[in-house]
Point group: C2
Chain length 234, copies 2
Amino acid sequence: MKPPAVVRLSGGLDSTTVLAIAQDQGFACNALSFSYGQRHAVELESAEAIARLAGVEKHVVAEIDLRVFGGSALTADIEVPKHESVADLGGDIPVTYVPARNTVFLSFALAWAEVLGAADIFIGVNALDYSGYPDCRPEFIHAYEAMANLATKAGVEGSTSMTIHTPLISMTKAEIIRAGTTLGIDYGLTISCYDPSPQGSACGRCDSCLLRRRGFLDAGIPDPTPYQDSGAPA
Amino acid sequence: MKPPAVVRLSGGLDSTTVLAIAQDQGFACNALSFSYGQRHAVELESAEAIARLAGVEKHVVAEIDLRVFGGSALTADIEVPKHESVADLGGDIPVTYVPARNTVFLSFALAWAEVLGAADIFIGVNALDYSGYPDCRPEFIHAYEAMANLATKAGVEGSTSMTIHTPLISMTKAEIIRAGTTLGIDYGLTISCYDPSPQGSACGRCDSCLLRRRGFLDAGIPDPTPYQDSGAPA
């Protein structure tokens, strides 16, 4: 029997690739999405379509409302910044950073893993392309794993050791796209944009769109994304 | 100006004592409660009354639904166990344990602390009286603090060090009750029962009731709790 795993699935390019990698590694995948007051609820529709197509064991959408705290362009009423090209992306932590988001997401994943008896959690954090979010760094993931191994029944009983898998953590966007394409992913189903139209077409100018466009260019793979300004350079 | 802190406030005896301690230590307290599909929603009414009386800066009730994962008597349809006395409490992890609950709670507290610019989080975990929950042990708290210091903007910028305060962690229930009584707490406002009546009276027989009754007895302080079996021994 395949060992169970919990896979964080946003409906974006990275997490969809992680799901394919986890399945390729032989895990029975349980996909976890969040409805957290994000601007782009269209990404949840992508997550559902991707989970169904991938044939996951179960797909759960957990409701969490981080808007009660405010503090981010993705959950509060702050404008999503737009840029002309990747070269304009600064090194600072952007306003689209959601406070402690991965900490919150991993905590729900840990709760579900404990219920399922799963010892493996997959999450698509990436230290290179991720615009400098603190909770995407390897040292954060290692510290989270150490904590997780003390937080649960398994930690007390010494029966299982929890592993946080981050297969993308040191890959470039182009490498991620190449890996996913080899595994047969249709990236036309995924959405990365922080500010998509209600119909789901990507703005093409937010940090996430710029990194995605550049990734497909660098990978030499056609970008299936419907951008609002489809002719513009990445 | 008083430094801001986030205080986890359930409406129970322990967290109410923690709030009084944090205020006594000079913090401007922001109280955080959770609506997480718990059986005893009456504890949220207690939390609101306690927060108002204490004059906190702000009280937020975050909605999180851990029922999507199941797995605990406090959130799923499993019967809360009842006992005749404290001596009947086993050393095993009880079914009232909610998977990864403190990990989830602390993650929300961390998100709010980051938005507030607070470097201090208070939580009423207790290693002695807490029926053997893995996420109430000091080693878990230390690992969580290490992770929290890598998870946030402050961790990247090196500007603030996050501290998880657990003032009750090595106190007996009687010591907690004595400390809170000295600080002027009216424990009649707090509720500990895992299975209260809709009107808010305590069952008197669940793990939490038994520990509370014994605590007041040991402290030599009258127990103001309305028990359904008020005459029974603890």
